[in-house]
Symmetry: D2
Subunit: 256 residues, 4 copies
């Protein structure tokens, strides 16, 4: 039996003839047999996904890939301007912004969902307590609100639909809906469940642990950033963005 | 008509109600409808893949994801040890090594394949000339040779099989095979087509331009690195790797 | 009067003839007139350092630059192996590990020092309370302890000496000494003030805010990492470190 | 005698009592005794700098630190917005752009300087040949030209002055001046020696090898980027830069 925390790896090994990932033969069982999405699940979770888990993971990876000219995309394009010979550096620069401000919110939303789910029959009360606590302390409720998509973030019902049609019923979506009802009641207005919230719920339905959620976003964003760098190479926009960004921030001396 | 290089983006836009990526409605047409792999193709290429292109891209992304405890994986784990709060930083550190030494080889192999393909009826001669040039100048032929997998890298025939069963016939695989014959003849021994070479060929068959190939590897490796960081969190191996690595490199003063 | 948080920059501006940094003429006043260390202080703090502040900042930057074959240095060297064309990527990879595990400790130590200082006449009691709290909750006291340098980290008395000879007397060193006495008393054994702790104290004496301390470490480590990458280029050690690190972590399947 | 490329390190070692960097005792000989600049030289070159080398290295590090709201600074600020908990990530993102476009130019300028110097008595002819070759092939001459600072980049004469007052006379500045004369003659107009060119020359005078020059820029820029991130924390400008940058790049569909 393996000792806890003994330094081993369970990911991959090879012989002269064969390569194995998570115990499966890369050439015989994986290449040409499973999708990239299923391979991601297998790598991260150590087992193949169910059909429902594949559908959810695909939906989430598709949802998170692209958000237009975000700070991440701008960082990647700025970096590409200075070092076009190192595409990996431009993508890495963009990924470095996938931190607490967006993903932290997803992780916190997932934690609230777990809290409501864990309350069992007391879920409604738990949800109300959470909403009240946030309102009273003037805290933003993670997973709720969107500056643009009002009254509702269109991604949320679609993600729920995909997950529910796939047949999952782990209570994560139900818990988030309970929280949503409580939020609307306590704040006395409708606040949308945003993509951060709904992604947290459906990843929960796919049995993805909270601690992996940031990684899912990183994978998806890596793809989106490759796309931005590729566009920057073909039709450069970085120079113009640099100019307007620099102009927008005037110099002011210390005494002003 | 758009002026060449005019600073626009063709990737994404949105309204209050809807988000569009590459002209398709994210919620109505993409989430729940297409796989992550197809979304990657759509984002990068501006059009949906054919069924054959999907199969090839999946096969390549599955092939490149994991190579065991590579320098990239070690860099990611070392970084995670110092900053476990920033998973994105550990993944970024690992990606920064996806540069000329591995991917450059893939890009160079793709360029040679294009060269042989472009020679038309003279492909055999062109291949022989390339092989001869490399041998005479003691250059490594990009896409050939493997320190471990002998006589043959098992990934190569599998990637060819997947592409050929998918029905592509763009001449990239044929060109690489012609080059392989020439290499064996000129070097007077069998040198395997490695995964770098076969990936270059099948991505060519999928109409992926050379300049995007590094990006495909970056996306796939991002997923593998998330897996390594996740394992490092659960069962830390970094401390032991640090200790043995540091011990293996003794100090020597300048005068020795 | 400037509005709070109004988007301006106070760092640099230029005309056709001249470049200004923090209000000083780069060519007339700075190049050839001030040291890199003073320029760092000027850039970060918006004013030139006193002679004492220069001495402390130099001492800290010299102290933090190099720690041998650390995880950061290994990450940089691993990255360099894959992308030797992008030295900046290797250095960036190494810097990404300058996170909570080392620097977070410095920031926490600085916060404890401020807490003790803020207690005025009650400093001794405050220090004792902190030490007791940490011991009772089995928490590591930030800035204390070293796995190798026993009984004392030699850098600590030297940093104190440099600061004291420079003539500072802001109470940060005194507060850390008070905390050290409390720690020894509460833990009933001598626990060294490590470099993390003493750096926090002397940077405090130099009026460097806690929030900048991590940045000081990043600057110093950047220099050390450039040195490691340069050595890796001249006399490669990465391949050997990779081999021993990979060998040290055997594969184990999931069922074991 | 050490075998060439034997995997050893010559940088640092330690005992229980002492830490040594490049053979010098960190506590007894370095902390409080040498400046950060001298420590950088010692770490990179394995020996202490002469007084002239210190002056030049200080001047270069001061020169390169800050260039206003550059793509690097924007990338760092964009990254900070997403992950303010990881300052090291924001700095790393900014450093990733320190690549071929700026630094490559410095390295190429240094190579041209070496070429002219190596021509000895034929330096004037060599310089003229280089200038002619660039003009005829419509190539930009590395180290020459500036979009803003005309007729002359003010940093260049100052860097020469600092180096010459320090007493160096290695021929690098003379070679660059010879090249400058040739460029002006061949292009039939005055083209300024820019900071990239003059930095390459004075670093050459300080006996810094070309391969280290990029590292010097990385160290200096790391400091400047810490300053930008610090300002971003205090008075955020990123949001405004994001908004104007995104607005400046309109969406256009593929058919336009």
């Amino acid at each position: 039996m393996a000792q806890r925390n003994k330094p081993v790896t369970r990911i991959a090994h090879h012989t002269n003839d064969a390569i194995f990932v998570r115990g499966e033969n890369l050439v015989d069982d994986l290449i040409g047999h499973i999708s990239f999405t299923d391979m991601i699940f297998l790598h991260l979770m150590g087992r193949r996904p169910t059909s429902a888990q594949t559908k959810i993971l695909d939906a989430v990876l598709v949802t998170l890939m692209e958000h237009g000219m975000t700070p991440s995309a701008i960082a990647a394009r700025m970096t590409y301007m200075g070092a076009p010979e190192a595409l990996q550096g431009a993508v890495a620069a963009g990924l470095l912004g996938v931190g607490s401000q967006f993903i932290g919110t997803m992780e916190q939303a997932a934690a609230l969902i777990d809290q409501v789910r864990g309350a069992g029959d007391g879920a409604t009360d738990e949800a109300r307590e959470i909403a009240t606590h946030h309102r009273e302390n003037r805290l933003h409720v993670p997973g709720f609100g969107h500056h643009l998509h009002r009254p509702d973030d269109p991604r949320t019902p679609r993600l729920f639909e995909v997950a529910e049609q796939a047949g999952v019923n782990g209570g994560h979506i139900a818990a988030l809906r309970a929280l949503s009802n409580a939020v609307d009641a306590v704040y006395e207005r409708h606040i949308t469940i945003n993509a951060t919230g709904s992604v947290a719920a459906v990843l929960g339905e796919a049995a993805i642990p909270i601690e992996i959620m940031r990684g899912i976003a990183v994978i998806s964003r890596a793809a989106g950033l490759v796309g931005h760098v590729h566009e920057e190479r073909r039709t450069p926009a970085g120079r113009v963005m640099w100019d307007v960004a620099a102009e927008a921030i005037p110099y002011q001396d210390n005494d002003s």
